[in-house]
């Protein structure tokens, strides 16, 4: 049997997490370096996966399959298709930046009990999340996926609640309470989603008798596994609900602003850029493959919800006073685009959506991390507390602007490609929705530029007058991200080449084909 590469990608950070947690309290920096090394090693493994993956090969590659819980028909089945590989790479890529950006975020202010080791815990949790996210991108067994889909909530929850943002207008105490509120909100929202999904998972088991995605999908395809229409729809809804909470889709989104607002910038990035992707990814992989008919049945409603998310999120972003909340609502709007692309059921839409997941990860990371640097400098999240930063810290301002431009998907930067693909894909099948969604680009420009104008331009506020510019470590975080944004903006072909075949497959799963151009149709 060949080397279990996929298991390794998940096992490495998991072990790393344990090791990091075990670092003695006095050796904080050791924990940091360990975490960084592990994340880099994982990245290396991910690159190997990327190389070993053959876009035109079998649908699921590098597969591993071992018996796990026979009684539930559960197998430990891993395998990646193009979509999975892309997101796997994204995750592995972002974590080192997250670690690096959070380098000093978890150093204890007061030396509490000797055994209280926040720093170790912080990085251990980050690695744990990475492991779980990665394995849920690789799982081709519904049960296996579900387990990690749920389990990842716990470390996330501690990251949000335990290591919140110290910058707070009402002082440490208020911060603590709000933080735990945000953490609980995050957990309960996702737990409820997950439990409803559990009901659906059990239902699926009752119907199909096993959990293997490939088997069930195949059985659905060749008709050997028949589901009553109503059953299929209920199951679909059960799955979709959980993913929609995770994604998040309007009106299930309200946990995201709180969570992102209260957590440190790196954790916020972890949430939107990495963890939430599991939701949208799962829509593509599980909802569409397992319940094609139901997916088609639900499409109109979902599209409308996605549309609402786009406009609503953008409008709310415009109305925010808090930088992080603003980014959060922006993300909601972006997730609207992703879901729109997935359920537009065109290859442009779905490839665009997948690409969008990757690009959104990069752009949000860039914007959010710079925002984080800004916030830690000034100690406030309120937009109103800033002004004229570009004069004192031009590099910071510049990177912030680029992050913003990526967020408003400026052509030439990566997000543009994906956003346009999504729009075209949607427009091709649902012109009206496509057109309305297009208005999102104006709103995106509005909130980004307003944010930039209020914080960076204008006369220098005394409070920011002495603000230092980006340090080397911070540049090391932002620089590569920006380079990637530009690279994928001008040459996204490598990614699309990986993604397209997988999307083609998915399209055939749901028995949809791209609409023909009018000219050809007329001929």
């Amino acid at each position: 049997m060949s080397f279990p590469l996929l298991t390794a990608t998940a096992a490495l950070p998991a072990l790393g997490a344990v090791a990091t947690a075990a670092v003695p309290a006095s050796r904080r920096s050791a924990a940091k370096w360990l975490a960084l090394l592990v994340s880099l090693a994982t990245l290396a493994l991910a690159v190997v996966v990327l190389v070993r993956f053959d876009p035109d090969g079998a649908r699921y590659q590098l597969t591993e399959s071992h018996a796990w819980i026979k009684n539930f028909g559960v197998r430990y089945e891993l395998g990646v298709d193009g979509i999975g590989v892309a997101l796997l790479a994204l995750t592995a890529l972002l974590i080192p930046f997250v670690v690096l950006a959070g380098w000093n975020d978890a150093d204890p202010l007061e030396t509490g009990s000797r055994r209280w080791r926040p720093t170790q815990g912080f990085f251990a949790l980050i690695l744990a999340v990475e492991a779980m996210v990665i394995i849920s991108f690789e799982a081709t067994d519904v049960f296996l996926f579900y387990i990690f889909f749920e389990a990842m909530l716990i470390p996330m929850y501690f990251l949000i609640g335990g290591f919140g943002d110290r910058a707070h207008e009402h002082g440490e105490e208020a911060a603590a309470t709000q933080r735990s509120y945000a953490a609980v909100k995050f957990l309960l929202y996702n737990l409820v989603g997950g439990l409803i999904m559990l009901a659906a998972v059990i239902g699926l088991y009752a119907v199909a008798g096993n959990f293997s995605l490939t088997e069930i999908a195949a059985a659905r395809a060749n008709g050997s596994l028949h589901m009553a229409t109503s059953t299929e729809r209920w199951l679909f809804l059960g799955f979709f609900f959980a993913f929609a909470v995770k994604a998040p889709l309007w009106p299930l989104h309200t946990w995201l602003p709180n969570a992102m607002q209260e957590s440190t910038a790196p954790v916020a990035v972890l949430i939107t850029a990495v963890v939430d992707k599991v939701g949208t990814f799962a829509m593509l992989r599980f909802c569409l493959q397992l319940f094609p008919e139901a997916s088609r049945w639900a499409t109109p409603v979902i599209l409308v919800l996605a549309l609402i998310s786009i406009v609503y999120g953008a409008l709310l972003a415009v109305g925010q006073r808090d930088i992080k909340r603003l980014v959060a609502y922006a993300s909601i709007s972006h997730f609207g685009f992703i879901i729109l692309g997935i359920f537009a059921m065109t290859s442009q839409g779905q490839s665009g959506a997948t690409l969008y997941m990757v690009n959104h990860g990069l752009s949000t990371a860039a914007l959010m991390l710079v925002a984080g640097f800004l916030i830690t400098r000034r100690g406030s999240r309120l937009i109103a507390d800033y002004g004229g930063v570009q004069k004192v810290a031009p590099v910071l301002a510049g990177t912030f602007l680029i992050g913003g431009l990526a967020t408003l998907s400026l052509p030439g930067l990566a997000p543009f490609v994906s956003e346009f693909l999504v729009l075209v894909g949607t427009f091709a099948r649902y012109p009206v929705i496509g057109i309305i969604a297009t208005f999102g680009i104006v709103l995106a420009a509005l909130y980004t530029l307003v944010l930039y104008q209020r914080t960076m331009t204008g006369p220098v506020k005394p409070a920011v007058a002495s603000m230092p510019d980006l340090k080397a470590r911070e540049l090391l975080v932002v620089g590569p991200l920006i380079v990637l944004l530009i690279l994928l903006g001008v040459y996204p072909k490598p990614v699309t080449d990986i993604v397209n075949p997988a999307v083609k497959q998915t399209m055939s799963d749901v028995h949809r084909t791209d609409p023909k151009p009018a000219v050809e149709a007329s001929k």
């Binding site: 415009v318 075209v424 006369p459 220098v460 151009p517 009018a518």
Partner: protein, 631 residues
């Protein structure tokens, strides 16, 4: 030969990258590097132009395919450049004027500590603009389209510490984004109609598509053009854009970027030809903007804003011409080029004046400057003559051609458009004369400023005057050069096509009429500002004047409807999100809490009540079981 095309873009792009990333160590030589690269790009442009001249008319299209950009199934966008007569014309204009303005800026920005970045932005602009005109498909054009938008955003807001500048920059970008909606929808429509959006296939197979779809596409393109070229109803940003440094206004907001809309329309000629209704819309937009800009231009006391109004109106001419179809395309471009020369010249002149007057822009504080800055006066004067269409100067040929074309459209439409253009010519003459008189003639009206020392106006350094002179030459000669043997027409014909309309009135008549309008306009202006002294503070003025000073209330409209409305909307939505969407969830949680609070009271600690509940439970159990059997 076509492999050179990429270099056109690469040179300034490199400059931008180096200058922006390079950091402080480039502060001393950076501006020269930028200028050099711009010049290099111009030289390459010339070489390519020469090579095109060498070919015969049919084969004057070079395409350089660099790499496949976004391939998804049938959706395929390449990074490919297309150099033909149309784009090379633009390339030369952009790089040429661009180089001059780089040169000019070296002097103009000499005292700005962020000059390096300024040149970086300028180079970025050149690169983007070149991508725009060289792109071989609409998506890549979109990249350039937004790229110039970004550059203009950065340059308008270059003095970011001025809130007004930052706001103006934001406004420009946003308004342009509205236009971009048009462009992106147009591209989507093309994709769903033709299955592609590369120039070649789209424009050749435009005929196969239904008129409805073509009209839709064309209107969307028009929307985009309105945004970029500051045409009504999306013109409002141009005036504020004057917050940027004057070279920027000259290059971006006069000579090149704002004319991109015209380029778009002319480039998409095939689509517009298939959509007559859309063409009418184009002409209407052009006509309206033409007058709008002119009227605004008459009322402004800020020299740059006056010129901005004029720019608007001149572009109105071009758009109108482009709307006329094959009879107009060529002249639209021709006017675009000549306008590029003289309007850039005028702006540089204005800049030079400001340079000499401590950045004063209010023309009422000028006066009699001709003896203080002779070079500026002469070059500005030539530009002035050119724009009002003084016989045998550039403006004369290009504008005259448009007016003729308008009449040649025929029918009532022709008459209306024709007379509008004529009227426009008159007003142009008026406000330009006004600017001229208020700035260079009459007696001095400037006062010593607050801390008492006199601005003592002076001529600008040579780095600034040289470009002005060159442009002045251009504005004098270009028209005649193009006109000679209809060179320009024959040059562009293969791309845009050309047809002589049948003018209801003779060409000579129209020319005469134009000249009459010109004289009238100048006369009135002289009567108002030449004979009488200009008051240093603006008189209240007529209703129209006051409206015109505020851009005919267009901004007020935007403010009330869009800004205020938007703020209310967002504020209410924030409320909704917090109370409704979030409230439901928290409400449920609270509901369970309350239920729990009530239920736990049952647990009152008394054994006997527990026993009661057990007894009741037993009774229920029995009853239920029996009931199950009963039913």
């Amino acid at each position: 030969m076509e492999n050179l095309i990429a270099l056109l873009v690469a040179a300034p792009l490199l400059g931008a990258a180096v200058l922006l990333v390079g950091g402080r160590r480039l502060d001393r030589a950076g501006h020269w590097l930028g200028t050099l690269l711009a010049a290099a790009s111009f030289v390459i442009g010339l070489v390519l132009f020469a090579s095109l001249l060498g070919k015969d008319a049919e084969h004057r299209t070079l395409v350089q395919h660099l790499w496949t950009w976004v391939p998804v199934e049938s959706f395929r966008a390449d990074v490919a450049f297309r150099l033909d007569q149309l784009s090379v014309t633009f390339v030369l204009l952009i790089t040429g004027v661009g180089t001059l303005i780089h040169l000019y800026s070296v002097g103009y920005m000499a005292h700005d500590e962020r000059r390096r970045r300024f040149f970086g932005y300028l180079n970025l602009f050149l690169a983007a603009m070149l991508i725009l005109v060289l792109a071989d498909n609409y998506l890549l054009l979109y990249v350039g389209w937004e790229g110039v938008g970004l550059a203009s955003y950065l340059l308008i807001g270059f003095w970011q510490h001025k809130p007004s500048a930052a706001t103006a920059a934001k406004k420009a970008f946003l308004v342009n984004r509205v236009g971009d909606i048009g462009l992106s929808i147009a591209i989507m429509l093309m994709f769903t109609t033709f299955g592609t959006f590369a120039f070649g296939p789209v424009l050749t197979s435009a005929g196969d598509a239904s008129e409805g779809r073509l009209t839709a596409i064309a209107l969307m393109l028009l929307l985009a053009a309105c945004g970029k070229s500051a045409q009504v109803p999306l013109q409002s940003w141009l005036g504020d854009a004057m917050e940027g440094p004057t070279p920027v206004s000259a290059l971006i907001h006069a000579a090149t970027m704002v004319t991109a809309g015209v380029y778009l329309i002319v480039r998409s000629a095939a689509i517009f030809n298939g959509a007559p209704d859309a063409q009418v819309a184009v002409t209407v937009v052009g006509a309206v903007t033409l007058l709008f800009g002119a009227i605004v231009g008459c009322a402004k006391d800020d020299i740059k804003k006056a010129l901005a109004g004029s720019t608007m109106s001149q572009i109105g001419y071009m758009v109108l011409a482009a709307g006329l179809g094959p009879i107009g395309y060529v002249f639209a471009i021709m006017h675009l080029v000549t306008h590029g020369f003289f309007k850039a010249g005028l702006f540089l002149g204005a800049g030079s004046v400001m340079h000499g007057m401590n950045d004063e822009v209010d023309m009422r504080k000028f006066g009699g400057l001709r003896k203080y800055m002779p070079v500026t006066f002469v070059t500005f004067g030539l530009g002035y003559l050119a724009i009002i269409g003084f016989p045998f100067l550039s403006g004369f040929y290009s504008k005259d051609a448009i007016i003729e074309a308008a009449f040649a459209k025929g029918g009532t439409q022709g008459w209306i458009l024709g007379s509008v253009t004529l009227l426009g010519a008159a007003i142009t003459a008026f406000y330009m004369t006004r600017v001229m008189l208020m700035t260079f003639f009459g007696e001095r009206r400037w006062q010593p400023d607050a801390d008492g020392h006199d601005p003592h106006p002076h001529e600008s350094p040579t780095t600034m005057t040289i470009p002005m002179i060159v442009l002045a030459i251009g504005s004098v000669g270009a028209g005649f050069f193009f006109h000679l043997g209809d060179r320009f027409v024959h040059w562009l014909e293969p791309v845009t096509g050309h047809s002589e309309g049948d003018s209801p009135v003779g060409v000579s008549v129209i020319t005469a009429a134009t000249l009459v309008c010109l004289v009238v306009g100048v006369g009135i202006a002289w009567a108002m500002y030449g004979r009488r002294a200009v008051p240093a503070v603006a008189p209240r003025g007529s209703l129209l004047t006051r409206a015109a000073r505020r851009d005919l209330l267009q901004d007020d409209f935007n403010h009330v409807v869009l800004v205020r409305g938007g703020e209310h909307l967002t504020r209410s939505l924030v409320y909704v999100d917090h109370t409704l969407v979030d409230g439901v969830v928290n409400g449920t949680a609270a509901g369970f809490g309350g239920m729990s609070g009530r239920l736990r009271r049952v647990q009152n600690g008394f054994v006997r009540s527990y026993a009661v509940s057990m007894f009741g439970g037993a009774a229920l159990l029995v009853a239920a079981t029996l009931l199950m059997r009963a039913v």
